[in-house]
Symmetry: C2
Subunit: 455 residues, 2 copies
Amino acid sequence: MIAPGGVAMPPLIGRKRDGGRLTTEEWRAVIHAYAADLVPDYQMAALLMACFLRGLDRAETAALTDAMLTSGERLDLRALGVPRLDKHSTGGVGDKVSLVLAPLMATFELAVPMMSGRGLGHTGGTLDKLEAIPGFRTDLSLAQTRAQLERLRCALIGQTGEIAPADRKMYALRSATATVEAIPLIAASIMSKKLAEGLTGLVLDVKRGSGAFLPELERGLELARTMIALGQDHGCPTVALLTAMDRPLGHACGNALEVEESILALRGEGPADLLEVTYALGAEMLLLAGVARSREEALAAQRAAIASGRAAERFQQVIEAQGGNPGVVDDPAVLPQAPAQAVYAAPRDGVLARVEPRAVGLGVIALGGGRLTMEDRVEPAVGFVITGRPGQRVRAGEPLATIHARDGAGLAAGRAALDEALTITDALETPPLPLISHRVTAQGVEELRAMSYEL
Amino acid sequence: MIAPGGVAMPPLIGRKRDGGRLTTEEWRAVIHAYAADLVPDYQMAALLMACFLRGLDRAETAALTDAMLTSGERLDLRALGVPRLDKHSTGGVGDKVSLVLAPLMATFELAVPMMSGRGLGHTGGTLDKLEAIPGFRTDLSLAQTRAQLERLRCALIGQTGEIAPADRKMYALRSATATVEAIPLIAASIMSKKLAEGLTGLVLDVKRGSGAFLPELERGLELARTMIALGQDHGCPTVALLTAMDRPLGHACGNALEVEESILALRGEGPADLLEVTYALGAEMLLLAGVARSREEALAAQRAAIASGRAAERFQQVIEAQGGNPGVVDDPAVLPQAPAQAVYAAPRDGVLARVEPRAVGLGVIALGGGRLTMEDRVEPAVGFVITGRPGQRVRAGEPLATIHARDGAGLAAGRAALDEALTITDALETPPLPLISHRVTAQGVEELRAMSYEL
């Protein structure tokens, strides 16, 4: 059962199964052999399930991360001569922060080598959003990425085959084997890719609430702490903010619609919650980079970069460099438009108690704008613009959203999804989560006063 | 990730992972789809690890067994008009009981459709032993098996592709994924094959002690109880004896050597422990078949069948029917003979405290007579005849064993293995386990007085 150059897996699987540990050398041997197709999927699946149920301690999590990181290439960006920062989000509905934050940060004395993923299930993916821009290519090689970072300080790319190939294989296997939601495995997967970017600092947006990957606050905090420890162990200072995903972020949910909203935000005209989360994460990046000395200074600098048009201009340059139509920044109408559009109105008087992100995300899939398997093709134009906000008092017939669909059947599917997602009650029972509730660093967890990041 | 006709596995794996249960219908769908290659190995591996760590309750174990059983054909032997009995051993070193017991039982008014396996790791396999007989074929079809049972009341066959194909695939997968030693999985694997034989009764030889698959008494008893419950749930009365595997059974360890010792036993000349275990298991079979009314009657009937030569003659007929050289029963020298032989003598005065079966079994592998993977080829002639018994007082230079090897290098390897396996001390610290210590039925566990089965 051992391929030449492979690893005798059953004793290692058995040890983890019985609650033991694998050494750093063993993790490296297993993961590198798996990346080289010398360990079969079925043995890795058994090991992953044993890891899921028995856990990994800090040293093992670090060893696993390091093994995945060293299974591939790394971006060596030291020659840029500026701090290299990135942001990672655990994923949500309407979360287009990357599209705003990356060009915004690139206007400062730092570089943003941003590697993103595709949407899967109810959450969207940055790559799918970017590819809604006609011509935009996300498959840059590492050499092209390096060259673009030198010129524009920002590159928006997908995970190449060169970066953490073991993680790519393991991620697909985990989806198929119910071994996704294990914090050490999630943390190692995220951090192996981020650490391969050769960063000097990393900011994490860990979502909480019903639409988050890990809905419970405690699990989100544990994930944040695990990833921060991994960053620390690898010499990459890491800070996390916990943000609300009990409702979509911003109004637009759907690929082209989110690009349009991102462009509005880069002009300072986007929804307040989107700008607030962007500025908060951006402030952490500017502080980590040493570009700003205080949060106030960081916020003021970001507002200035947006107000001056520099941030929008940088996005335009990045789009052009990556083959996209740069005209989209001045005229979002060049984005694909859905042929069928309809207003969704409040069916009754009351309080809009919930805008359930999971139902909205599944609605985008129902419209054809998301994917249930990695093979599904995504329709860029469809989605929702939901202007109704949780806690808002509404009257019957008042417009709460616009549905963008391929056809009449799509409109009906979109309407059904919104019926499911939007709950109108007589009184608000559970208030929405605070938008940004916790800040986690290597020093500990800080609970933020509501609105501390308010504009 | 779902093949057409397949099963959406991740939710089922996730439920078992979280300690939930699969329904009978779900087990059947999963196992049948797996047998039909519609569920990939990696999903089954993750499910098996979750089962290993979360367990299966009695209903789930029964459902899994039934699903494996119904994944293939069953022997319908009702037309034979006699009780159909079989014996299963959990495996050990020197355990050649099947070769003696099957023809012995076939001399009574019952049929023995005995399906056996190959050796793997330190334990031997009945098929490998039988194939040491020149010409002997174990790959009978179900139709050939049925015809032979009509004529001779005994067939000694391998697990055909027609019987429990899901179990064959799962067994190979479990070896490769460290999911072997889970009692519900072991029990379901054994019982699915045995129940497919269409038995009216089954006797289990559950080994205990250092050389057993499950060394601890409590685990052996649990396995026995689990298999007995499965037998009961499927209308097949089942009885188990717990027997000692803290030393090899009999003297011969190695395929041709064990055939020779089995023939001696069929003539009443075999080692006492081998005959004692054979008679005890045979008595349970005769009681289950209703052929004998008491253990005393069963023992007497067996002794008579051996003394009269009927048992040896039946073995000869079975060998001839299955293509083997029947002359072997009269002259075991027609068996393959190892070219190099040497006596192993006691290196010092003292008490032979241990004859460690695991080390003996690994010694047989070192000689080329066993296998570490299912692909290894087995050399029939090599092995050991260990006449020294645990507890025996020995003098330096006294012969304790004979090594049968391919060549001088083999003799050296065999000597090293016996140095490891045989421990001579000044005094006996731990007495050997009682040969037959417990009898387990659906009614409960009975601890047997030492020597209750003595000849």
